[in-house]
């Protein structure tokens, strides 16, 4: 298997939104990372629509229809529609097939009529349950995920993605208890192992169809840390600790690319700027136009090097300005227009820098994702590129170093809680063994006992 041991970008200045080293082309004449930013809209089906297949397909059609209608009525040259599956869609692959097909038909009709560049992304839900035998691999749920992925690919999805959950049992334990070792084991080791399993499969499916393997996100782990960290005044877990989890998540999400995912990487992967710096694939990100879904502390910064600008998710309903697919596509569409104007006028780097500086010193989690810092974490990862454990550890240590430097320079002051959490986490990380097997053995001993849901068999350990 391919592992990244060199940076595709030679220096961070080269990385900017709308341009990727390895652009992606899809049907309906759309490209990603090819000099323009694509706005994305994603809308969750109304509650109740999961009651029957008919309701669900109707719902999906309406979402696609609304989005297309608004796109042409405000003059968007391009957009991506993503459908993230609810449980029933994935658990019934024929639902996945029909929903995809109906959305593809809507998009194609608009493409045919207006020549608008469109993309349909389908993201089946990772409904596998580690705590239920036989675990993550080979269970009925696992098979349903595979069948649904294939159903999407076969029925008109431009690309397929997933938010895989491998390692979540242990990382949740680590994140909620401030046990950085468990966090590292859950994300860096278990997460990376499961990614290989999931992504080899997706890439193989995509080979059979005109469908691209998109990307994964560490939503289940690093985003859990980010949400628990909350706002500036929340103290459930330190924002410095959440920043370390994010850096680890980059080493883990990179595995999808190493397995053959080509991007754009999935929108809620806040670690994507790091993965882009290493691998050169286009990425989707979300920030200030995803406030309908959640609050983050890097709403502009995360746009700095994006290729697809997303709203994350919103329920399908009526707002004053229209239905949610209309409203939120308009929001992401106008932001993309701003970025595209900058690209056209050769001021993209300036806009990127302004985006970055609005949030760089808002929070440690934002700081480490500023493109120059993301690049540094990327370098730390490729230095140990062949070893998933060591590279996620290195990523976290580098993130800690970046925070410490900013703090010493007086640019980002930390509270005592953030400071001490960071210091103790870094101390633990520094003292960890340099041998992956030794680390894995130690962790298996501890966490099989402590985390009831954790099942080493799910990772072939």
């Amino acid at each position: 298997m391919k592992r990244f041991t060199r940076m595709v970008y030679k220096n961070p200045e080269e990385i900017v939104f709308g341009r990727a080293k390895f652009p992606v082309s899809q049907r309906w004449n759309i490209q990603f990372g090819a000099g323009y930013v694509v706005p994305e809209v994603k809308v969750a089906p109304q509650e109740g629509s999961e009651a029957s297949k008919e309701k669900m397909t109707g719902e999906c059609r309406n979402i696609a229809q609304s989005a297309c209608e608004r796109a042409v009525s405000i003059g968007l040259p391009t957009f991506m529609l993503e459908q993230e599956h609810v449980f029933q869609q994935t658990n019934n692959p024929e639902w996945a097939a029909e929903c995809t097909q109906i959305q593809a038909e809507v998009l194609e009709s608009y493409h045919d009529e207006y020549d608008i560049k469109v993309s349909l992304r389908q993201t089946p839900a990772d409904i596998r349950l580690e705590e239920r035998s036989p675990g993550l691999r080979g269970s009925d749920y696992d098979n349903k995920v595979e069948e649904s992925l294939e159903a999407c690919a076969a029925n008109g999805a431009s690309d397929i993605c997933i938010e895989s959950m491998g390692g979540k049992s242990v990382s949740d334990y680590g994140i909620s208890r401030g046990d950085i070792k468990a966090t590292l084991f859950g994300i860096g080791v278990l997460g990376s192992i499961d990614m290989e399993y999931v992504w080899d499969r997706i890439v193989n499916i995509c080979k059979k169809y005109d469908c691209r393997p998109g990307g994964d996100t560490d939503c289940a782990q690093a985003n859990t840390a980010m949400f628990m960290a909350g706002g500036l005044l929340d103290k459930d877990i330190a924002h410095t600790t959440a920043a370390l989890a994010r850096a680890m998540g980059a080493a883990r999400s990179l595995v999808a690319v190493e397995c053959g995912a080509i991007g754009p990487l999935k929108d809620c992967g806040y670690e994507n700027p790091i993965v882009k710096a290493i691998s050169g694939v286009p990425i989707a990100t979300e920030g200030k136009n995803a406030v309908c879904a959640h609050s983050d502390l890097m709403g502009n910064l995360i746009a700095g090097v994006t290729d697809v600008w997303s709203n994350e998710s919103v329920y399908h309903r009526q707002e004053m300005g229209g239905t949610t697919p209309e409203v939120w596509l308009q929001a992401t569409g106008f932001e993309a227009a701003l970025m595209n104007t900058a690209l056209q006028t050769e001021t993209a780097e300036t806009l990127r820098d302004i985006y970055t500086l609005t949030d760089k010193y808002r929070d440690p989690q934002a700081l480490i994702l500023a493109y120059d810092n993301a690049y540094r974490i990327g370098e730390a990862i490729i230095n140990y590129g062949k070893d998933p454990y060591l590279r996620s550890r290195a990523a976290a240590l580098e993130a800690g170093k970046i925070i410490n430097e900013a703090s010493e320079a007086g640019k980002l002051y930390l509270t005592r809680f953030e400071r001490d959490s960071l210091d103790s986490a870094l101390k633990v990380l520094e003292e960890l063994p340099m041998d992956a097997d030794q680390f894995t053995d130690e962790c298996l001993r501890i966490y099989t006992r402590k985390v009831a849901e954790f099942d080493p068999k799910s990772y072939e350990l």
Partner: protein
């Protein structure tokens, strides 16, 4: 030129993002960077590293600094006053601000005392202190956490606090008072069975004509009304009040009656027990 130099340097963060958590709690700067500590810490070496060693409760660094100073033929008195005590002053400042807690004080206090011992070896006698005090735990009582804190606070404030330990017979207390001529005696007890020794100690002191204020301190059962039920004694509420009481005895010649009356004023804060 990267954006960091070009753009970042022009920014006033206050117009962009304010870290209210840091605004509310204060930044986690190193203790030595605290502005008050900066004012207290000496600027010149080796005093600076000695004081910093005490500030961090780092015994090895403190002793290394002290030894270095002694090798350079600096006066042991100067090392104590300009190095060790300055470090302790800085610790007290952070404690008052709520940045340091009891364990910080204990660790720093230990480093300071070891440093003083090292200086006294060269000096050949005990170093000069503000005054001497005597502390004991009542006979039959092992609970000495309170007494240890009192001794630590006194030493940190430049007093020679004689520590008689725990389970101290009355006779031994009287002998110590005769020998050391302290400005006051502190007694602590946690158990109701042992606190009854306090009036006996006072009685014995009076018999010998030793007029020293006695500070009665202690846990659950020792109360103000009990302590004030016999003469010469003053009820101590918090261990950190002790040096202030000591200062007022030393400088303002306060009597035990005045201490009882002006307790809150002397320690400079509202004390519910004396309200």
């Amino acid at each position: 030129m990267s954006y960091v130099e070009e753009l970042e340097s022009q920014l006033d963060q206050n117009f962009i993002a304010i870290r209210y958590n840091v605004e509310m709690e204060g930044p986690a700067i190193k203790p030595e960077s605290d502005p008050d500590v900066q004012n207290i810490l000496p600027k010149e070496e080796p005093y600076k590293s000695i004081a910093t060693g005490v500030l961090y409760g780092d015994m090895e660094a403190t002793l290394n600094g002290v030894k270095e100073g002694l090798e350079e033929d600096l006066s042991p008195i100067d090392i104590i006053n300009n190095g060790l005590m300055k470090g302790m002053d800085a610790v007290s400042a952070l404690y008052t601000k709520g940045f340091y807690f009891l364990p910080d004080l204990m660790l720093s206090g230990d480093s300071m005392m070891e440093g003083v011992k090292e200086c006294e070896k060269v000096l050949g006698h005990k170093s000069e202190t503000k005054a001497t005090t005597v502390s004991f735990v009542a006979e039959g009582d092992p609970h000495d956490i309170g007494k240890n804190l009192v001794v630590m606070f006194l030493r940190a404030n430049g007093y020679d606090a004689i520590d008689l330990g725990r389970d101290v017979p009355t006779e031994e207390v009287i002998n110590a008072v005769e020998e050391y001529k302290p400005i006051f005696v502190t007694g602590t007890a946690l158990m109701t069975t042992t606190m009854t020794v306090f009036p006996k100690v006072v009685e014995e002191l009076e018999k010998k004509g030793l007029k020293v204020p006695a500070l009665g301190c202690g846990g659950g059962s020792v109360r103000k009304d009990f302590v004030e039920s016999f003469p010469m004694s003053v009820y101590g509420v918090e261990a950190y009040h002790t040096p202030k009481l000591a200062d007022s005895i030393l400088k303002d010649k306060k009597t035990w009656k005045e201490l009882r009356k002006e307790y809150s004023e002397i320690v400079g804060e509202f004390v519910p027990e004396y309200a």
